[in-house]
């Protein structure tokens, strides 16, 4: 017996409340070492302070600022379309301060580069737009040659001293409203984004009262918006109008709509010349722009190499400072005081880590570690491995166990997949499930490192649950003898054969038994026979009740172990004993009847027996008598059940009350003596004895508890019938499904069934099993 490994899962780890007194110089290191160990849970000693009043708020802020910068880099990198490399970088650890400086440098560099390229991009866009306008508007002007005279005149007086080649400030020129001159028809040409063009035209029309001509043509190229860096479709327009006031109005409207206007000379030769100039400048700019982008990408790539590491480092630092903020400064301001919980087994590891921290930071004073006693209940900690973890999580999803309470996940490891399989049982589907689980387990190490979608994450987390579920499904499927709902002769021949050689009566009158029962599971001959459903239903219903009663008894027995562990004989005597008597005198007896009926092959009607056990217990059972002495036994059981109810209800609150008054009387003499010792206790672990005892509250609580148990015994047993009902339901779906199409059976039904069986198994564990003993109010 002693060779067995300890059952860590049975009860949560024993915890101790420790106080750490850490010199300031080694605090950071100590906390980060402890963080790597992950075995100490600090208590927040500054819970009443708001976040910015805490000690290390500046460092936390700095970390937040750094992570903002890192987010900025990440954003820039993904915008630039670079892939951040995941290959590990062998670079020595950088200090946080260094990193901060580095990050700031990088950020400034990037912002500068962005600003430069934005400027370039803007002038590039303007040139590009100008080029497009020249191309498009030129064609309008040529086609509408009728009013060419006036336009040429005014164009010339603007551009007579045209010196585009020399002026670097091309844009300045452009911004000058292109056309000024005397009366007559004038025009403004420009470009506007396509989405606004309709409204723009309407507005112009309204403002001009219809006295204008609007021409538009879509631009061939899309232009990049420098801010959002999205490609925008634009439209070139030319507005013809007359009058000075109209011009200022149009210009205002253009401004309001964000349209940019460019002058287009009427003269074709001049147009060509400008186009050429613009094109050459465009090419130049493009080269510069490309060089800029390359440079930027290089800078980003060099950042990208370290990015992952930096992010995790900043996160770690932030976590360390957050933890440090939970500590108290002692009066001398020389050291930090922390309190927390750790499992007892980890004491050595913790002390080693703390020593390492002292040593590494060359501190003169060691870190003081001492165990204190605390009034409040310690946190729950289970040591799990990758196999038990998923099962522990199934239980934790309902509620974290109270400290040292017996842990249902030990039993869940087996009962959960088993109950699932009772509902799911089909060894064909089981094999599908098994394959899936095996794939997940085989690629465990690979899947574990990469990021999965939420659904895959769930499957991956539950891969061992899935494995056990599939194994049990195959087992139950073999018992039910179902392979995709079709029975096979695996374990020898059927026990039944036809009455004659033609087998004409097989489906009507039935078969005859001619040899020993089928070796394992359900005889395949039941399939398709007239009495198939009644037979299987009765079998599975009874089986469900047997399983249910067994599991509920298990739950009550666990409550006994809990009570014994916590040394509460009161709970054993006035809760466990009546509960187990009540459950077994009714449903335990039913289970007994089922087993006897199976063994003897009796024809007795068990419903009748159970119902008349309550209605008229003294009456003769007649043909429903299963064994000798059944009637007196029933009367005794009924009496026991009736006694058990008040037994559960009344004694406990009254005894509690008596105990309380006794203790209170004892206290009146002791108070003065203890008050002095209380002063010596550290204020941090100030204890509160909640001595309020409210009898009516306790009594009502006990009453609710008892009623819940009594009613629950009936309803929970009925609830276990879902094992049968779901089984039946699945069978029907599958029969229909197989007839329809194989694909649906394979995927949709398989998924649906898996899910529904999973959920029902979950419920049976959470409600029917765990409410017998599990408090689940730990943390």
């Amino acid at each position: 017996m002693d060779n067995l490994p300890p059952m860590d899962l049975m009860r949560s780890e024993k915890m101790s409340f420790v106080q750490l007194i850490i010199p300031v110089e080694s605090a950071h290191r100590a906390v980060s070492y402890l963080g790597e160990l992950g075995l100490l849970q600090f208590r927040d000693l500054n819970a009443d302070k708001s976040p910015f009043q805490r000690m290390f708020v500046n460092q936390v802020k700095r970390c937040a600022e750094m992570s903002r910068k890192l987010r900025f880099f990440k954003d820039q990198i993904s915008k630039a379309g670079l892939l951040s490399s995941v290959r590990p970088v062998t670079q020595p650890d950088v200090e946080l301060e260094e990193l901060e400086i580095q990050l700031a440098e990088h950020e400034n560099e990037l912002i500068e580069m962005n600003a430069n390229s934005e400027k370039l991009r803007q002038s590039y866009n303007e040139l590009l737009e100008f080029k497009i306008v020249l191309q498009k508007a030129g064609s309008f002007l040529v086609s509408s040659g009728t009013h060419a005279v006036s336009e040429r005149e005014l164009d010339e007086n603007v551009y007579s001293n045209d010196d585009y080649v020399d002026t670097a400030s091309l844009l300045e020129q452009e911004m000058r409203p292109g056309i000024s001159g005397q009366s007559g028809l004038r025009f403004i040409s420009g470009i506007i984004s396509k989405s606004k063009v309709l409204r723009f035209e309407r507005m112009l029309f309204r403002a001009m009262r219809g006295n204008m001509l609007f021409n538009q043509a879509p631009a061939d190229e899309e232009i990049m918006d420098p801010i959002s860096s999205e490609m925008v479709e634009k439209t070139v327009f030319v507005v013809f109008f007359s009058g000075e006031q109209a011009k200022s109005k149009i210009l205002k409207i253009c401004e309001a709509f964000g349209a940019s206007f460019y002058p287009v000379p009427e003269d074709i030769t001049k147009q060509r010349q400008i186009t050429r100039e613009v094109s050459s400048r465009l090419d130049e700019l493009e080269v510069t722009l490309d060089a800029g982008i390359r440079h930027r990408n290089k800078a980003l790539a060099s950042i990208g190499v370290h990015l992952v590491k930096w992010i995790s480092m900043v996160r770690r630092e932030k976590a360390v400072y957050d933890t440090l903020s939970m500590l108290n400064f002692d009066v001398t301001k020389k050291c930090l005081v922390g309190e927390g919980w750790c499992p007892i087994f980890a004491k050595a590891q913790l002390q080693a880590a703390l020593q390492r921290a002292t040593f590494d930071s060359n501190s003169q004073v060691g870190i003081i570690y001492h165990v204190m006693d605390a009034a409040e209940s310690p946190p729950t900690y289970f040591r799990t491995n990758k196999f038990t973890n998923a099962f522990q999580e199934i239980v934790d999803a309902y509620g974290v166990a109270r400290y040292q309470e017996s842990n249902p996940s030990v039993y869940t490891v087996i009962t959960f997949p088993f109950l699932f399989a009772v509902m799911f049982g089909d060894w064909g589907h089981g094999i599908c499930l098994l394959l899936g689980a095996l794939v997940l387990i085989a690629r465990e190490s690979k899947l574990g490192t990469q990021k999965l979608g939420s659904f895959m994450e769930m499957l991956y987390g539950g891969r061992y649950v899935l494995l056990l579920m599939s194994l049990f499904s195959i087992y139950c499927g073999l018992i039910y003898n179902e392979f995709f709902s079709v029975p096979y002769h695996i374990f020898g021949l059927s026990a039944y054969k036809c009455r004659d050689t033609t087998c004409s009566e097989a489906k009507t009158t039935g078969l005859v038994k001619y040899q020993d029962p089928y070796a394992f599971g359900v005889d395949p001959s039941w399939r398709g026979s007239r009495s198939e459903l009644p037979f299987l239903n009765s079998l599975k219903m009874k089986m469900s009740i047997l399983l249910g009663v067994a599991q509920m008894n298990m739950g009550i027995i666990l409550s006994y172990f809990n009570a014994r562990f916590f040394g509460s004989s009161l709970d054993i005597r006035y809760q466990f004993v009546p509960q187990i008597i009540f459950l077994n005198s009714l449903f335990g007896y039913l289970s007994l009847l089922i087993i006897i009926k199976w063994c003897t092959g009796s024809q007795a009607d068990l419903y009748h027996v159970m119902i008349y056990m309550f209605l008229s217990p003294t009456e003769d059972l007649g043909e429903n008598q299963l064994f000798w002495g059944q009637r007196p036994l029933q009367i005794i059981l009924l009496l026991l059940a009736m006694i058990a109810v008040p037994w559960m209800l009344f004694p406990k609150p009254f005894i509690l009350k008596r105990l309380h008054t006794e203790r209170f009387q004892g206290r009146t003499y002791g108070i003065l003596a203890t008050s002095e010792t209380d002063l010596e206790v550290e204020p941090d672990s100030a204890r509160h004895y909640d001595e309020d005892f409210n009898f009516s509250e306790v009594f009502v609580h006990q009453m609710i508890h008892s009623i819940e148990f009594v009613l629950g015994a009936v309803s929970n047993t009925a609830s276990y019938l879902r094992l049968w009902a779901l089984r039946y339901d699945n069978l029907v779906i599958r029969l229909v499904g197989l007839a329809m199409f194989a694909f649906a059976t394979a995927f949709i039904l398989l998924m649906m069934e898996t899910l529904s069986a999973f959920l029902h198994a979950l419920r049976l564990h959470w409600v029917e099993f765990q409410n017998k003993f599990y408090h689940g109010d730990g943390f």
């Binding site: 910015f52 987010r71 507005m203 401004e255 309001a256």
Partner: protein
């Protein structure tokens, strides 16, 4: 369908009501305000807000913060909430939601027009506009020279067009005219909104008529106080009052003839629901009146959440968020200008 909202309300608006109640739960509480008021710098405020619903909106802001950035980002959150709800809404809720923004639209129009009158840059003005009251051609407002043009050029496309019918004049725009225009528009808007809510019927009509009446009465009082000593005639003043609310019609007669603030106070104290507003103020004081009104409004808005199956919660949520943003702006300003003693002057606790 009064009293039968429970039967059909959730078909279309149930989801959104749940959403809006969830948003309401995210409003800052008195504890939050207490912590905010203790902040030393704007960074502290940012840090505190990062734990609230504003967190994601502020987290990427580089460190030297300005009050405007905080307010802008917080408003962005409100706008995002609003847009999300508007996307999901069906008729008549979507119209109801749109009505909520018309008030901002009027303010924006007035802002732009006044700005251009004083020759400010349009882009600069646009940045100051409330994002909820934006419409497509808002920048073109600068073109207009008088009311008629304003209407014909721009506003005819906007939902504000019907409200304009009363103030189309060919007069040139000046400060006085603009202010009258704002109030006329607002009057028409409130009356229209009120009629719309009455048409919806049920609990919506009941709750919204209370909220809108309060709004109308507040505007009436403000108009009366602000027009004291101006050349606005009594009849003109009376024309600006909305034709519903507790003051309508007899209170309006009295308000129209008020010559100083104590007379206004005398009028208001005749109406029991408004007595409490003045009870905290001393005679002749009008500085704190705004805060008193805001406090009363917040109280009423919070009450709107006590009833289910009506649209008032959307209105109330938007208003409460706006109040919250005003609070944040005030706190940030006080912190930024080291005037922490005045922090409590204008902050209205919501919960």
């Amino acid at each position: 369908m009064y009293g039968f909202e429970a039967l059909t309300f959730n078909i279309h608006a149930g989801y959104l009501e749940a959403i809006v109640r969830g948003h309401r739960a995210g409003l800052l509480t008195a504890a939050d305000y207490n912590n905010l008021c203790q902040c030393e710098t704007l960074d502290d405020i940012k840090m505190h807000l990062s734990a609230t619903e504003y967190g994601p909106y502020l987290q990427n802001e580089p460190s030297p913060l300005h009050t405007t950035t905080i307010v802008e980002k917080c408003t962005l959150k409100l706008v995002d909430d609003y847009k999300h709800m508007l996307c999901q809404a069906t008729e008549p809720l979507s119209t109801f939601l749109e009505y909520i923004t018309y008030g901002h639209m009027i303010d924006n129009v007035v802002l732009i027009v006044t700005g251009t009158l004083h020759e400010r840059d349009v882009q600069e003005l646009l940045e100051k506009c409330h994002p909820l009251g934006m419409f497509d051609s808002i920048a073109t407002l600068a073109v207009a020279q008088n009311m008629r043009e304003l209407y014909r050029l721009v506003l005819v496309d906007t939902p504000l067009a019907p409200y304009f019918s009363e103030c189309i004049t060919s007069e040139d725009l000046d400060d006085m005219n603009i202010e009258i225009m704002r109030n006329t528009l607002y009057k028409a808007y409130l009356e229209d909104f009120y009629r719309f809510c009455q048409k919806l019927g049920g609990a919506t009509a009941e709750i919204m008529s209370d909220l809108l009446s309060f709004e109308a009465d507040r505007r009436a009082v403000n108009i009366s106080i602000n027009s004291i000593g101006t050349e606005l005639t009594r009849d003109d003043r009376k024309k600006l009052y909305s034709n519903f609310g507790l003051f309508y019609p007899y209170g309006h007669e009295e308000l129209a003839v008020c010559e100083d603030i104590d007379q206004v106070r005398g009028v208001m104290e005749k109406y029991p629901p408004y007595q409490s507003i003045f009870s905290k103020l001393s005679y002749g004081e009008s500085q704190m009146l705004d805060k008193a009104f805001y406090e009363e409004e917040v109280k009423r808005l919070c009450l709107a959440f006590e009833q289910q199956f009506h649209y008032g919660v959307f209105f109330a949520y938007m208003r409460l968020r706006e109040q919250e943003i005003r609070n944040l702006m005030w706190i940030s300003e006080c912190v930024a200008q080291n005037q922490k003693s005045r922090v409590h002057d204008s902050v209205v606790f919501i919960f």
